[in-house]
């Protein structure tokens, strides 16, 4: 179990990136949802032992990660948001190298394991090619391969689907889902669909604060009867935006198709009640949080 207690991180400036996060995460896929700059990456880096917090504690299976970051490293699979590789190594050599650094072994030997892993991320054809010739998606897949390697007790993936095409994204979902069966997979994203597809539980953070800890179904349930759907021209859209929380506005054949969150169940005229989605729930949470605590200048990173 991963337990986070009153975690605070203040960058010089000062910029308060985390303002007292408390979380308990059990085995399974856990999503961390939040807008850009909410503090997700800071939290992920602290958990991965790459960033020292200002205060607070992080325990993984009883081991204090803050005091002893080494305690998690051999049990960790980590895919950072931004990363690179040695450009002159081949994908295969790079992966072999990283497997050795991570102390990973397999019955068939490390070379065979490397080939298997590259196959799983669909990079077999480029295994012998130097990484400096890889596209962004290929690098991301190589990153995925190293993150899932071994038998990590916890996998931390930060915005993992960025740069992946839909096919690869689905493939990655499948891998993560499989891994989440018997370990913690912590998925940080600002893409609500990733959480909707994968996570049994998720947290929403904004400006370094936890504003929700729930499940996708719970989140949707709380909005039942409060989401309405309808159409509007541009003039009316502007009016609705001033009176209601618009969770989605799509322009289809010149007409705006809107989804509106109305906590008072007072939809604009002509709008019909509809089934809430997770995206509705996320945006409603954001709107509520914004109303409660307006964003100030230097509060988060």
């Amino acid at each position: 179990m991963l337990e986070i207690r009153n975690l605070v991180k203040v960058y010089p400036g000062p910029v308060a990136a985390l303002q007292g996060i408390d979380l308990q995460i059990e085995n399974g896929m856990f999503g961390l949802l939040g807008p850009n700059g909410a503090g997700k990456t800071t939290l992920m880096r602290i958990i991965a032992g790459l960033l020292e917090p200002t205060s607070g504690q992080v325990f993984f299976d009883g081991a204090d990660i803050v005091r002893n970051p080494d305690s998690i490293r051999h049990r960790l699979g980590y895919l950072p948001q931004e990363f690179g590789f040695y450009p002159n190594l081949t994908g295969e050599a790079m992966l072999v190298f990283l497997l050795k650094l991570k102390g990973i072994s397999a019955p068939g030997g490390i070379e065979e394991l490397t080939r298997d892993l590259l196959g799983r991320v669909n990079l077999t054809f480029a295994a012998r090619r130097r990484i400096k010739g890889y596209s962004g998606g290929m690098r991301q897949r190589l990153g995925v391969a190293q993150a899932i390697a071994g038998d990590p007790s916890i996998i931390v993936v930060d915005e993992p689907t960025a740069g992946l095409d839909p096919e690869e994204r689905l493939r990655f979902y499948r891998i993560l889902a499989e891994l989440a069966e018997d370990r913690i997979v912590l998925l940080s994203t600002h893409i609500v669909e990733d959480v909707a597809v994968l996570c049994s539980k998720f947290a929403v953070i904004r400006n370094g604060r936890l504003i929700a800890l729930t499940t996708p179904s719970e989140a949707r349930e709380t909005l039942k009867g409060r989401i309405f759907e309808g159409t509007a021209d541009n003039g009316r859209l502007r009016d609705i935006e001033t009176t209601h929380c618009v969770t989605k506005a799509m322009l289809i054949q010149g007409t705006n198709h809107l989804r509106v969150y109305s906590p008072a169940m007072d939809p604009p005229a002509g709008f019909q009640e509809t089934t809430p989605t997770l995206e509705d729930a996320y945006l409603a949470l954001m709107a509520r949080a914004a109303a409660e605590r307006p964003v100030s200048g230097k509060t988060s990173r």
Binding site: K9, V10, R45, A48, G49, L50, E52, P53, T54, P69, D70, R73, H74, R75, Y78, P80, E82, F83, G84, F85, Y86, N88, L89, A93, F97, L98, K100, L101, K102, G103, I104, S105, A106, P107, G108, L113, D116, L117, G119, N122, F125, A126, K132, S135, G137, M138, G143, Q146, I148, A149, G150, D151, P152, D165, E167, E168, R171, R174, E178, L179
Partner: protein, 1199 residues
């Protein structure tokens, strides 16, 4: 080019750079240097009157500033500029803003020029601070102690040199490294550039200038020196122009320096222009270029690049059976080394610059120069030791850059989060990277090894030995690399900033060099072993082996300590500011220090022992104090006190080379030479003697011990002519302890050889107070000023006793050694498995010595040459010189009075030869290892010179006073000229005279120079006057008098003065020889100019016109004497080559036509030479018979 965009880039780059610690460290450095120069720690222009109150060369003159700027700006700025300019574009790439920037209307020209000129501006700021600091420290707050070195303030004296010597360097290095960085986008590659430029310039362009170098090559080298120092030094500083000139003149510019400065400025700007062109091209083609580079093998261009393939059937991950654990050091270390090496091998720098290093090293090896500008044979040991410094400097710099780049490779490539989140240990990471970079160092050393072996093989005379390379590079150099790498790593771990790391490491290198240059270094601080090694083929590093071992243990211990510290400081987790503050609290730091204690023990213990050994060594503070006490205690009472003469020496000497020990038991029979009774007399004893016991008149005696000066008071005062027996026994060590900072020793007992002399009181008691003991810069006083008529009446000897004495010396030592001493070998016997050599004098001597070694011997005609078995290269040449010298000197001066003439080789722990009577000692580096050729003939010369001292010092001793040494050393060199002429012919004699003249021209100090009769060795520049100018003057005098007249006069002179009691001064010499001069008026004029004045002709030829008549060519020209002497000189119009450079023999077909002229000082003469052939060249003094300045200018081509 849009001005706003250009200035926007310029301002951004400028403001980024001036905010970096790098910039401020540079500013601090130039302030510190400005202060140091003002304080007078460094002098550049050697000219000046050395006497107290004499005019000094100002450090504020344009010449001094030019010299400082040329050296400092080049050495100091080059790395800072390279890093700043080279990384300018690379940094944008690393920050991933290049593409963003160039998606704007910003043009390559605005980007490249904005950035490059901002770097130039940064260093112009630094230069301005440097110049302002110099002005401030020199004029606003000058050091009162050095007030005589400060001239009046003139801003131009600072600004002009900075512009002329500083700006082109800044432009050139900025342009070149900017281009490198932009072109390669490889930060490692651009660091090679300054290393190579610096090493080529420092060790070749500034250093290599043998006297025989062709003027055209010299000019080419001047032109190719980016600093302009070679030109400045060769044209204006080497040949002293005098204080007045240096203090008041601007640096006169000529075509070479103007061309040089323009060339490097243009090259700098051209490089920036090329960078703009290349940058624009890459931007325009980036898409197609990058696609092409990324194409996989077999790609035919018709299909799109495949980045995915159809998915295979999915298998659960669990089926792979993967397990993870914390890997061990031994699992990860090799993997890291391999990957690091692989990345390093992709560094183009290795392939581009290693060949350049190779060429540099090769030329260094082939052009190594020994004493007297003589090319040396390159042996394995000499190559290994001589290349230590360039190798240490270049490899340490490369290691620093590679280590830092390696340490931040993950950050630069973006792998850092993955890498640091893995369970690999810090120790494996750091040691793996260090090992990979160390292997690069090893690779370069191996390249050097190949170069060395090739150089030795190409030379073809000396066998290749691997042992010296293994010892010097393997045992001594390698620990330096290890420790330096660890140091760079610990600095990077502590600062996490490459600029700070470079700044700290470069500061350490500069500080080390500064301590070396100012003579403050010792074994404890000398981590890189600069200037400490003295190689000898006869014994491997025997002199300071103990110090070397301790020093290397200390350095390796420090390497371990640094590694541990680096591991502790290396933070994989980005620290929190508050956490960092907590870790800086005293208890935390104390705990960190406590964990380091086990790793401090070895370096600390080695350092303490070394420090103690340095202090108690023979150059240490303990000895220094004892010598000072000797001087302070006795100067007033015992300086110039009368002492008895030695009439006979009887010595039993036991030598123990393995332990450096010796034991002496002996007696001096002393005689009172004075006509007054002698009540007491002092004897100076050795500083490291133990179990010392004295006897006087055969009875035990306890003299008064005045800080090692023993005062003997006989029961009754010694009457005039009375003798008394002084006895002594003692034991000692020679040398006593280690040196202060390496180097050699003039006298020693070592397994490789023994050299002991009666010159110093280290080995045998020395009668009287020893005036030089205990003198240093603090208490040095001016030499005694003698009245002009000091030589009239009886004059004492210049050195040594008033009269010669006899010796009876028995030397006991291990049987494998041969012991030589003065006189003839009476017998050799074996006692208790030790050999005993018994030497007695067959004719009295003035000095004695003992030299021992394991030699082969070459016997000649009354001569014997004892040499190291591996040094047979020049044995025949030296042997022939010995035979010839003994024969001809006997004919010319006086028959040799002793039975045998010996030369014995000793290890190259000092570069000298000493002409003891019958028993000359030669350092291996003199003659034995000379690259002897028809041009240099160095082996012949050294032998000829030292053998001449048998006559000039041993047979005839000059008088005590100014000119005394001028007579002895000058006559020895003059005798060598005669012997060259006799044995080797015109070409060799002329080359030898040219070399003496060149040395004199380069080393004379115009303002300090005094006439020969006044030279006492106390002033800078006296040495070259003593040896070279005086030899030339005697040679000119011989030509003036006629050879036979002069030699007859010299023979009679020896006979007149040989037996004393008066010892001749130079005034006696010229007065005596005047009787033999055919034209006494001409002789007087000559003597007045060249003995009693410092006359020196300097000829120029110009306005040359050639006209062909009916049957002749008429050459009209102007001959000017820009110097100060007046003497007849030949001028020849020549065609063809006179001598072969290879053999020195006359070349058939050479033709010449001569006239003689006598231009007075400052006078010009219009002259005409008729030739019945078509002449090619005009040459003043074709036979090299008139000493002159700048001989190379006294010639002209005839068009």
């Amino acid at each position: 080019m849009n001005r706003i965009r250009f200035f926007s880039v310029f301002r951004r780059e400028l403001s980024q750079n001036v905010r970096r610690p790098f910039f401020w460290i540079m500013i601090l450095l130039v302030l510190f240097i400005g202060f140091g120069i003002s304080k007078g720690n460094v002098r550049v222009v050697a000219s000046g009157d050395a006497e107290i109150g004499g005019t000094k060369a100002w450090i504020t003159s344009e010449f001094s500033n030019a010299f400082f700027d040329a050296v400092l700006i080049f050495i100091l700025y080059i790395f800072f500029i390279s890093v700043t300019a080279g990384l300018s574009v690379i940094r944008d790439d690393e920050q991933k803003i290049t593409e963003l920037l160039h998606s704007t209307p910003l043009k390559p020209s605005e980007y490249v020029w904005g950035k490059a000129l901002a770097v130039v501006a940064v260093f112009l700021i630094v230069l301005s601070v440097q110049v302002s600091a110099s002005m401030f420290f020199n004029h606003a707050v000058p050091h009162t102690e050095n007030i005589e070195f400060f001239g009046p303030f003139q801003a131009a004296h600072y600004i002009r040199p900075a512009v002329i010597f500083g700006l082109p360097v800044i432009f050139f290095i900025t342009g070149l490294t900017f281009l490198m960085g932009e072109w390669t986008r490889n930060s490692r590659l651009l660091f090679f550039l300054p290393v190579i430029i610096l090493s080529v310039t420092l060790f070749f362009l500034w250093e290599w200038s043998p006297s025989w170098l062709d003027i055209r090559i010299d000019r080419m080298l001047m032109l190719s020196d980016p600093a302009g120092l070679r030109w400045l030094s060769q044209t204006w500083i080497k040949v002293d122009q005098g204080t007045q000139f240096y203090n008041h003149s601007r640096v006169p510019m000529d075509g070479i320096i103007i061309g040089n400065r323009i060339l490097f400025t243009v090259l700098g700007f051209a490089a920036i222009g090329l960078s703009q062109f290349h940058f624009g091209r890459v931007l325009r083609r980036s898409k197609s270029w990058s696609l092409k580079r990324r194409n996989p093998p077999g790609y035919n261009g018709s299909e799109t690049i495949r980045t995915t393939q159809p998915a295979a059937a999915y298998r659960p991950l669990g089926e792979l059976g993967m397990t993870g654990r914390t890997p061990s050091f031994f699992e990860t270390f090799p993997a890291i080394v391999r990957v690091e090496l692989r990345e390093l091998l992709f560094s183009a720098g290795l392939y581009l610059f290693v060949p350049i290093i190779l060429l540099n090293a090769f030329s260094d090896a082939m052009t190594s120069v020994g004493p007297m500008d003589t090319p040396l044979l390159t042996t394995s040991g000499l190559f290994a030791v001589n290349s230590m410094e360039p190798l240490t400097l270049t490899v340490c710099l490369l290691l620093m850059f590679y280590m830092v780049e390696s340490a931040r490779r993950e950050k630069a490539t973006g792998l850092a989060p993955v890498y640091r989140a893995s369970p690999v240990g810090n120790f494996a990471v750091l040691s793996g990277k260090a090992a990979a970079n160390g292997l690069v160092g090893v690779l370069i050393v191996l390249v050097f090894l190949v170069v060395g072996i090739t150089a030795i093989l190409v030379q073809g005379r000396v066998p290749v030995e691997i042992k010296p390379f293994a010892v010097v590079w393997g045992l001594l150099l390698f620990p330096t690399f290890v420790a330096w790498s660890a140091f760079a790593m610990v600095v990077y771990s502590a600062t996490r900033n490459r600029y700070s790391t470079y700044a700290v490491c470069l500061s350490v290198l500069i500080f080390t060099g500064y301590r070396q240059a100012t003579g403050h270094m010792n074994w404890v601080g000398n981590w890189n072993l600069w200037k400490v090694l003295q190689w000898s083929d006869m014994g491997v590093l025997e002199m300071d082996r103990y110090a070397l071992v301790l020093n290397r243990i200390m350095i390796l211990g420090l390497a371990v300590l640094f590694t541990v510290l680096a591991v502790k400081l290396f933070e994989r987790r980005t620290p929190d500011a508050s956490g960092r503050l907590n870790r800086l609290q005293f208890p935390v730091l104390l705990r960190l220090a406590a964990t380091l204690i086990p790793f401090m023990i070895i370096p600390l213990a080695a350092g303490i022992v070394l420090f103690h050994e340095v202090g108690t060594g023979f150059q240490g503070s303990v000895r220094e104090k004892a010598e000072k006490d000797y001087w302070r205690h006795n100067l007033a009472t015992w300086k110039d006190t009368p002492v008895p003469d030695i009439a006979h020496v009887d010595l039993d000497v036991e030598l123990y080379p393995e332990t450096r020990g010796f034991a002496v038991s002996g007696t001096y029979r002393l005689i009172n030479p004075s006509d007054k009774p002698l009540r007491r007399f002092p004897v100076t004893g050795g500083p490291d003697w133990s179990n010392l016991a004295w006897t006087l008149a055969g009875k035990p005696y306890e003299p008064e011990n005045r800080s090692n000066l023993y005062v003997f008071t006989p029961v009754q005062a010694m009457a005039s002519g009375e003798t008394i027996l002084l006895g002594f026994t003692y034991e000692g060590i020679m040398p006593g302890g280690i040196t202060r900072n390496g180097g050699g020793s003039r006298e020693f007992i070592l397994p490789s050889g023994v050299v002991l002399t009666s010159f110093n009181p280290e080995f045998v008691p020395d009668l009287g107070f020893h005036e030089e003991v205990g003198i240093d810069e603090d208490n040095r006083y001016d030499a005694k000023v003698y009245p002009d008529d000091y030589y009239e009446g009886i004059t004492g000897p210049f050195i040594g006793p008033n009269r010669p004495f006899t010796t009876d010396i028995r030397v006991e030592l291990p049987v494998e050694y041969t012991a030589n001493s003065v006189g003839m070998l009476k017998n050799r016997r074996i006692e208790n498995d030790r050999a005993v050599y018994h030497w007695i004098t067959d004719c009295p001597v003035r000095f004695f010595n003992i030299v021992a070694g394991r030699w082969d011997v070459r016997k000649g005609d009354g001569t014997a040459l004892y040499y190291h078995p591996g040094h047979g290269y020049n044995v025949e040449v030296i042997g022939q010189a010995m035979d010839a010298a003994r024969k001809y000197y006997s004919d010319w001066f006086m028959p040799y009075p002793w039975g045998e003439l010996k030369i014995s080789e000793f290890p190259g722990l000092a570069y000298y030869a000493q002409g003891f009577p019958t028993n000359i000692t030669f350092s291996e580096a003199l003659g034995f290892l000379a690259k002897d050729d028809p041009r240099t003939q160095v082996a012949f010369f050294v032998a000829a010179h030292e053998i001449a001292h048998q006559w000039w010092a041993n047979i005839l001793m000059s008088g005590k006073g100014p000119g005394g040494n001028v007579f002895l050393e000058g006559m020895a060199n003059f005798s060598s000229i005669l012997l060259f002429d006799q044995v080797k012919g015109d070409y060799a004699r002329m080359e030898f005279c040219r070399r003496l003249e060149h040395d004199y021209g380069e080393n004379r100090q115009k303002d300090s120079e005094r006439p020969l009769v006044k030279v006492d060795g106390s002033r800078p520049g006296d040495n070259t006057v003593t040896y070279n100018r005086s030899a030339w003057i005697y040679w000119m005098m011989l030509n003036l008098m006629g050879r036979e007249n002069a030699l007859t006069g010299i023979r009679d002179f020896i006979l007149a003065y040989r037996d004393g009691p008066d010892h001749p001064a130079l005034q006696d010499f010229v007065e005596f020889l005047k009787r033999y001069a055919p034209d006494s008026g001409e002789f007087d004029r000559f003597v007045a100019q060249f003995f009693f004045d410092t006359a020196l002709p300097e000829y120029r030829i110009d306005a040359v016109e050639s006209n062909r008549g009916d049957d002749k060519w008429w050459i009209r020209f102007r001959l000017t004497n820009a110097g100060t002497g007046e003497i007849s000189v030949d001028i020849a119009a020549t065609a063809g080559k006179r001598f072969s450079d290879d053999t020195g023999e006359s070349v058939p077909g050479y033709r010449e036509s001569r006239i003689t002229a006598r231009p007075g000082a400052g006078e010009s003469l219009e002259l005409l030479i008729a030739c019945d052939f078509e002449p090619e060249r005009l040459m003043v003094d074709p036979d090299v018979t008139v000493l002159q300045l700048k001989r190379h200018l006294a010639a002209a081509s005839i068009k």
